[in-house]
């Protein structure tokens, strides 16, 4: 009886989960399927998943030749890594100082960081755009990175992490004659790598996928990041070639999805850390 009830509830649970999973996967599955179909099958609009005639090579080839997808991905990587490097370089010492050093104005500063956590990029966007336009810096990698170079979230997250680092070890390192900068890079940072890794994943995902800011400062398609490139490509190819469009979507989505499949832990940790605020 008990076993039967258990089996029943198990079927129900998996039923709900699988139905939801099907909904989550639908766009991915259909994207791949369509990217392999020839135009006539796409336009016949049947519910058939697999192509009758394999047209994948043509679709992917067309997408690659018509749109510089590799270039988009490369731009995405440059922008993401540039942002991340500066974010970490700037945030780590700042977070350490806020967590472990006593200096005037520390608490006020931390409050400021907390407040700025709330400010999305859309707020400083207008003035930054005007400034970049004045400096003739539109359509540059730098322009794409500027608003994100200081990450209040990184400072906050790392500060919380450093805070829990035992003071005794820092004192011991000072007694051993280490300077503060050495303490940070050689002692504190290595122990904080779970937080750093999680933040890195978080940052890269956010900026790889961001559309709003690149859309504003980039008009040169050679500098487009994946989302902007996708948008340009979709505009240029409107309606005509869905197979190639899906192929492009698949190729631009793939890098992060692959990274996610291999580094799932850190993606999950990155999300979870937003909740520790």
């Amino acid at each position: 009886m008990r076993a039967l009830r258990h089996a029943g509830s198990l079927i129900l649970v998996h039923g709900v989960l699988l139905a939801g999973a099907a909904f989550m996967l639908l766009p991915f599955v259909w994207m791949i399927a369509t990217s392999l179909k020839p135009p006539e099958e796409v336009f016949s609009a049947t519910l058939q998943l697999l192509p009758n005639r394999f047209h994948g090579a043509e679709n992917y080839g067309f997408a690659l030749t018509q749109a510089p997808l590799v270039r988009f991905a490369l731009n995405g990587a440059i922008v993401c890594l540039g942002i991340l490097a500066v974010q970490l370089l700037v945030a780590i010492p700042c977070a350490y100082a806020l967590a472990k050093l006593r200096f005037p104005g520390r608490d006020a500063l931390f409050l400021l960081v907390l407040l700025s956590l709330a400010i999305p990029v859309q707020v400083p966007a207008l003035p930054l755009y005007i400034a970049l336009a004045d400096l003739s810096l539109l359509n540059t990698y730098l322009a794409m990175m500027v608003p994100f170079l200081f990450s209040a979230f990184a400072v906050f997250l790392l500060r919380q992490f450093f805070k829990s680092y035992p003071d005794d070890i820092l004192q011991a390192a000072r007694l051993d004659g280490m300077r503060e900068l050495e303490i940070v890079w050689r002692i504190v940072v290595p122990s904080a790598w779970p937080a750093i890794a999680a933040f890195s994943v978080f940052s890269v995902v956010a900026h790889w996928n961001d559309l709003y800011w690149p859309l504003i400062v980039i008009t040169d398609s050679a500098l487009a990041t994946p989302p902007l490139g996708m948008m340009l490509f979709a505009d240029a190819e409107t309606g005509s070639n869905y197979g190639a469009l899906m192929a492009a979507a698949a190729m631009l989505t793939a890098p992060l999805v692959v990274v996610f499949l291999f580094a799932r832990r850190w993606f999950i940790a990155g999300v979870t850390m937003t909740g520790v605020k």
């Binding site: 700037v90 207008l126 608003p147 559309l211 994946p226 989302p227 869905y242 992060l256 909740g275 605020k277």
Partner: protein, 297 residues
């Protein structure tokens, strides 16, 4: 204080200031100064490239609240939030509770539900657009095969915003699931066992006695972050509907984008941004109130 102690204090003071200065410089340049400029712009009629600019006081704000486009976009944004929040939070909680109990299949479901979070929304929006295409999309093909006829998901004014909301839920559900899973893992197993000995045997009892009350702080947090994210809707509108049809999917940020960066009405766009910021700050204030309460257990 002794000599060496004083010296250590001085070193800390100097190092501290040195360590924060790059961060603070960037913060000043990329956040604080722009914020001040934004507030300044919002009371002018500045347009990009204009030679002559003058202060207009609160006129931009007054204009905003009589502007039918702005009012519609604000209403649409709030409606979107109202659909997405219960959907993405409620379903996220449901899926998390179901996934949490799984042992071997947990990783499998985690990956699938989280997939939309990592995928590039713009690319996936293009896919959704195709999925929902009235003639070519499989969704309508499916509806036709059931004899239900076609639904113009994106080109019918009454349907566009709810359709975008469903896509919003699709994108946020996995994120919320992960947050809920973290909350669930933080509940000690002992409590469930104690409850079982005390007679909480049905899933409903367990949920009401232990899970729900202990998850309340997580739930509040998820509610607020989802509200903020939903309030910032932009990508799907920009790609899929561009505010149409007939303004039925105009949202706040898209409006700001058009005014500021397409029409270059900088002063007016600044005022709209200030309104946008005000909403975000209200959500954030709620959030910090909630977080105060969290320490409670």
């Amino acid at each position: 204080m002794t000599g060496p102690g004083l010296r250590q204090a001085r070193i800390e003071r100097h190092t501290g200031l040195a360590f924060i200065s790059p961060a603070m410089l960037l913060f000043l340049l990329t956040s604080l100064a722009p914020l001040a400029v934004l507030l300044g712009l919002s009371v002018t009629d500045y347009e990009l490239g204009a030679i002559d600019t003058k202060g207009v006081g609160m006129a931009n704000f007054a204009k905003a609240f009589t502007d039918p486009v702005f009012r519609r976009s604000l209403g649409n944004t709030l409606l979107y939030v109202l659909i997405v929040v219960p959907g993405a939070v409620g379903l996220g909680l449901l899926i998390a509770v179901l996934v949490h109990g799984r042992r071997r299949s947990r990783g499998f479901y985690e990956v699938i539900y989280f997939l939309p979070v990592t995928s590039t929304l713009i690319a996936m929006a293009t896919v959704w657009q195709f999925l929902l295409h009235p003639r070519l999309g499989p969704v309508n093909a499916f509806l036709r095969s059931l004899g239900l006829g076609e639904v113009a998901f994106l080109s019918e004014p009454a349907h566009a915003l709810p359709t975008l909301a469903v896509i919003g839920i699709w994108q946020l559900l996995g994120f919320n699931m992960v947050l809920f899973l973290a909350g669930l893992s933080a509940i000690p197993k002992d409590l469930y066992e104690a409850a079982e000995v005390d007679g909480c045997t049905s899933a409903v009892d367990r949920f009401l006695t232990i899970t729900w009350p202990l998850l309340t702080p997580t739930t509040m947090f998820v509610l607020v972050t989802t509200s903020i994210t939903a309030f910032k809707i932009f990508d799907t509108v920009a790609v899929m509907t561009r505010g149409g049809p007939m303004g039925s999917s105009e949202v706040l940020l898209y409006n700001v984008y058009l005014e500021g960066f397409q029409y270059f009405h900088m002063g007016y766009a600044a005022a709209l941004t200030v309104v946008f910021l005000a909403f975000i700050l209200v959500f954030s204030a709620v959030q910090s109130l909630v977080l105060e309460r969290r320490t409670h257990y």
